[in-house]
Structure formats: C-alpha cells, structure tokens
Symmetry: C2
Subunit: 354 residues, 2 copies
DNA sequence: TGTCGTTCTGCAACCGGTTGCAAACTAGCA
DNA sequence: TGCTAGTTTGCAACCGGTTGCAGAACGACA
C-alpha cells in the first residue's frame, strides 16, 4: 500500500479501464470490440465510442496469447550481399536470380495485403543449411506462417516446412503437387509475348538465352518462345537455343557462342535483364548495333532497365500484385487449410532495345 | 474428465511441462532459461539440457506480455511504386532519393543486427499524412520502437514520434539537436573523395550537380567538393555548381545549362547515380565522350551502376553497416534511453566513367 | 401466474510466461 | 547448540486479453 500508484486515473490502457468507465465487465468490452453478436448493439456502440474517444488500442500481445495466434507472418530472406551471393559466402543459395527490387515490390504488396486482413509482416533471415528457424518462429508463437521466394530457399527448407506441417506459400514454384500454396509468374506467356514482339518487328533469327535448363521457369519461357515462333510460321532452330546462369559472364559466353554459330542472328530473347545487358555488351563488342542489327528483349524489368543504353525492352511481372496474392493465399491457408496455385500475368515493357 | 486429453504426454510446449519433467517449479525453469543467478548452476544446466533435448521453444508472446516488451521493432516504409512515387500517388513523399536496393541492404543489416540482440524486424507501411500508425503499433504493444529512413518520412512523422515519446532512429538526418538517434552517411567525405578522384586523374573543370540545395546532404557533399578543390589548389568556380532534383529530367537540364555556360567542363560530380546517368546521356547527346572528354562520378552505387555504359564510378555507402548501426542505436535507446549520432564512411567505387 | 426460450451480461478460468516475497536449506561463526 | 547471512527454491499474483458456462432480464405463451 506504499507504492505510488502512478496510474493517472484517466489513461486508458486496458479493456478493464474501459469496462470501469462503461460500467460493464471486461468480457463485454472484449466482445464489443470484437464485433461479437453476444452484446447488444447499443452496448457495443457505447463501448466503442468510449474506446474511440480515449484513443484506446487493444494490447495485441495479450490477444495473441489468448487466441493462440500471432497474426504475424514471416517473409524469409537471406542476408543481402551487395555484389550478389557467392559460393564462398556462408548463406549462399545457388540460382539467385531475383531482380533485386522485385523483392521490394513483392514486400510492398505483401505488407499491404496482410495489413488489409489484420496481419503484420516480419522479415527474417534464413540460411541455406539451417532449418532451425522454422520451429524457432513457429513454436515460439511469433508467427503463424511463412512466405518464401524460390530464389531464396532450398529444397531442404521446403521439405522441412512440409514435414513440420508449417503453413507457408512460395513465390516462383508451380508445384501443384505439394501441400503448400504457390504464386508464380506466367513464364510461358512471358516467353511468348517477348518472342512475338521480336517477330512482329520483322526479326526471324531469334536466339534464346535461358536460365539453367533444369529450372521449370526456363522451360516455360522456352515453351512460350517456341509457341510464338510456330505461330508465326518460323521453325524452331534448336541451335539458336542455349542455357546459362543468371550472370553477366555466363550470358556473354552464350552470346559469343551463338554468334559464332550463326552470324545472321537478328534478335535475342534473354531470360533476365542482367543477361540481356551482358548480351548487348557482347553484341557491340562484335560490331553489332542494338537494336538496328540485333534486337534484344530481357526479363524482369529491374530498376535501371529504363536507364541502360539503349533502354531495355523487357518482360515485367507485377511484384506488388504477387505480394498481394501471396498474402491472400497464406491467409486463406491459415484460416481454411486450403492450398492453391495462382500465376500472375507477364507484361511486355517496350523501350528501345527491341 | 471425458475430454480426450490429446496431449501426447511427451510434447513439451510450455515451461510447466519442463518443470514437471525436471521436478521443479515453473519459476525455476523460467529462471534457468533466462540465465538468472537465482538458480544454482547445476539446476540450470539440468533444465537447459531437458529443454534442448525436447527442442523446447519458449512462447514469445507470453513472455512479451509478462515483460511488457515485444522485442520487435518496426521499419517504416511506404508503399513501393515501381516507377517511383509521383505527386499524384496517395502516399507521395517529396524528395525521394534512396537508391532502391539501398533499402534492401539496410534491411539486411538491420535484421541481422536486431536478431543478434534478440529482436525481430517488422515491416510496416506508413503514409505521409497519417500518424495513427504510431500509437497503433506502440500502444498495442506490437513493437518497442521504430526505424525510419529520411526519404520515407516527413517532418510530421518525426514530430509526432517525438511528442509521443516513441523510441526511434532515423537514417540520413544529422540533427544532433533532437531527442532521437540518427545514423547517416558521411556526405562530406563522400563529396571529397569523389572530387579528389577526378582531380587526381588530371581533371580541372569539375562541375557539381547536387540534390535540392536546402538539404543538408547536398550541402555536405558540396563542402567536400569544395575542400577537395582547394586542397588541389583549384579554385571553386561557383558557376560550375548547380542543384536540382533527383530525377533524370532535372539532371539533364542542369547538365545542359552547365555545358552552355562552360564548354570546357572535363568532369562532373553528380549527387546520385540516376543524375549521373542522365548527365552522361546529355553529354553524349552533345558530342562529348565519357570518360575521355568528360569524367563522371555518381553517388549511391545503385544495383545496375556496374552495368551502365560505361560502368559508373560512384560513391557507395555500406547499407548493411547502416542497418547494423541503426539496430544498435535503437536498442541502446530502448535499454538505456541514450540517443546518439553516428555516421558511416563513404567509399569510392572506381569503374569506367571516371 | 408459471414456464420456457431468447438475448444479454458477468464470473472466473484460462493462455504461458515473469517476478516479489517468503520459506527452506546450507554454511559460518560465536 | 543457537543465531545470522547467503543461497536456492516455490508460491502465487500478476501481464491483458478471450471464452465456456451460468444466470439475469425480458417477452411470449399456455
């Protein structure tokens, strides 16, 4: 009884304070603020008015504890390496191919989508070899589920999540055969429209530089490429098709090989902007003008694609939309257990390289 | 007594379970897992071993409720606009100048720094006109503090945070006169080394294209520029100094004006990579070769600076380091109330444009 | 007037940790 | 042996919500 009792009576911090003011019980306040049908409409309004008037914010932690759900989902990222991950870096994940700002776009849509449904976004860093983060975040009740990007995660992660029964969604995988939801870009359509654009401008010898050929994404883009060619009554010349890594070195090498095989190439469809830019450098080094002699289309529409020389024509996927869909899928999964698979449209951004 | 009691006895979910196994009380388990001196070393080890063995993860929510701190901090971002914020977009914040991937770098360091000290990173979106998010996140106990980036926040936000007494740190402001911590790049040093590099390669007519001249950052870079010139016994010619917006249009215009005034310009120091790239375009349009006739240095080292034509020499600030320092500052503030001001070094990345 | 069904409200027991305080135990010392 | 101080431990009351269940209030109907 000696403690100062610093609570200056009017600061409304808990539902108990509101209950006192309204002359009802905590339970009623809780129900009123949660839109329960177990309070009369007038009581509910009266309580809400009091809460509003006092700028009351309910304690989310207590609520989470009680409800046994945090209303937070985690986006798994890996430590960002300014100059790209390398084999020697601890968290190296092979096949990194995300256009850097794409993550930012996705994150934006994700945050917005989650927020709209009462969830918050936690960003965590994971490492290729470790799967401890799963139970560290799930069992501790910090998050209800995860969002992964195919470029930032390994098969190991996906398997661990699946066996653990963790709710999660993945961007960029179209495995309809799994117990998790996916959202991905329509690579087939992307490949098709990119190629069609080149054909429409009169090109006939269109080379294809893909990402690693074992990846579904590269295959889908190739299918789109082939479809467009056939639709234009241009045969698919397999010797114009090549696969490499998403790096400038690899792309230059592929471009070089292609030119040696076929000096008559008049267009290139590269599966990433970085590859496209490298291809342009190589083409120029060998005396070709872009786009006059050879038109080039990239993929991703990274930030500076608009400022390269020449500005790059490329295929873009709406990151914010992807994020929004990831949010929707995950929340649906959390609430109903249903998994789904969506793909978002690819859009051609025409600039000057083709 | 009829309920199925599905708890398959061995699933250890709470400290009570561990207490039962260890034959001690909840209190003792709590103390053991928190490294309290109020448990004997051997009891502590025994309990920790049990916890480890059962893969126990303590419920973070309950802990937060009890401790009245969430161990989460929020990074305030604004909805990402793929093509840059525009006046007409709802969340428009003037003066956006962040190199896009810089946010990602900062976020990476921030997440790592926070994690190392037991905190998690929440990403929230705020709007220029709204300040409701402050109490929405703070009063609800979801987060303990905020991290802002000067480009993503308005004075209004800072003031609201200050009057509200919210703990927060800001990147990119060096207001030593405020009640919050700051971390920023060493713009003075950046301006100096960029200019020195140009002078060292024999250039003497070095133009300066700054960001908005009312910004501290632009002023600091100018001071660095002037210092380098004087150190090389080259006078500062104010007519070579100009300020604009961080946009291609603005930069082109400035470059054009400069060339009209001085056809003998042999170098340009631009205060952002986007400006530098625009300047290069303008220089070329007027028949200058880069870097042969005019050398150009940018600022920021955005993602594709390495892939522009020619690859851009620029000044970079280590984003991950900035993030780490932001984490440290904020946590220090949370724990001790102390505010501080740090600046991180600027580093010249020499490529081919200068 | 008695009984029953609705609708609304409150009691109190959770959720899973933390922590002040008292008690038990040990050792040291007169 | 008795007393004090220091170390470990447990009890129980929190933190601030949610929710099952019992009961009150009220109108309807017999």
């Amino acid at each position: 009884m000696l403690q100062p009792v610093p609570m200056t009576a009017d600061r409304v911090k808990t539902i108990a304070d509101i209950a006192r003011i309204a002359g009802v019980s905590k339970a009623t306040v809780s129900r009123a603020l949660n839109d329960s049908t177990l309070v009369s409409a007038e009581t509910r309004e009266r309580i809400r008015e009091i809460a509003r008037h006092h700028g009351f914010e309910m304690n989310a932690t207590a609520r989470s504890l009680s409800r046994r759900q945090s209303n937070v989902v985690a986006l798994a990222t890996y430590p960002y390496e300014p100059f790209g991950p390398s084999e020697s870096s601890p968290g190296f994940i092979p096949g990194d191919k995300l256009p850097d700002t794409f993550v930012l776009e996705v994150m934006s849509g994700l945050a917005a989508g989650l927020h709209a449904r009462g969830y918050d976004l936690l960003v965590i860093q994971i490492e290729a070899r470790d799967t401890g983060w799963i139970s560290r975040y799930l069992d501790s009740g910090r998050v209800d589920g995860f969002v992964l990007m195919s470029a930032n995660c390994t098969l190991k992660h996906l398997e661990a999540l699946e066996t653990r029964g963790a709710p999660f969604v993945v961007w960029g995988l179209d495995s309809t055969s799994h117990a998790y939801s996916t959202v991905s870009g329509d690579s087939y359509a992307g490949g098709r429209i990119a190629t069609k654009h080149l054909l429409d401008s009169g090109r006939r010898r269109v080379a294809f530089i893909g990402g690693p050929d074992m990846e579904q994404e590269a295959q889908d883009r190739y299918r789109g490429y082939a479809t467009a060619l056939r639709a234009a009554n241009v045969g698919v010349d397999e010797s114009l098709v090549t696969y490499g890594w998403y790096s400038t070195e690899s792309a230059k090498l592929r471009m070089q090989e292609l030119l040696e095989r076929h000096s008559d190439i008049d267009a290139v469809f590269a599966c990433s902007d970085v590859m496209a830019i490298a291809a342009i450098e190589e083409l120029r080094a060998r005396g070709r003008r872009v786009p006059e002699d050879v038109a080039v289309v990239g993929y991703d529409d990274v930030a500076l694609a608009a400022h390269t020389d020449p500005p790059l024509t490329t295929v873009r996927q709406a990151g914010p939309l992807a994020g929004r869909l990831l949010a929707d899928s995950l929340i649906q999964q959390l609430q109903t257990g249903a998994v789904g698979h969506v793909s978002i449209p690819a859009e051609l951004v025409v600039r000057e390289s083709a």
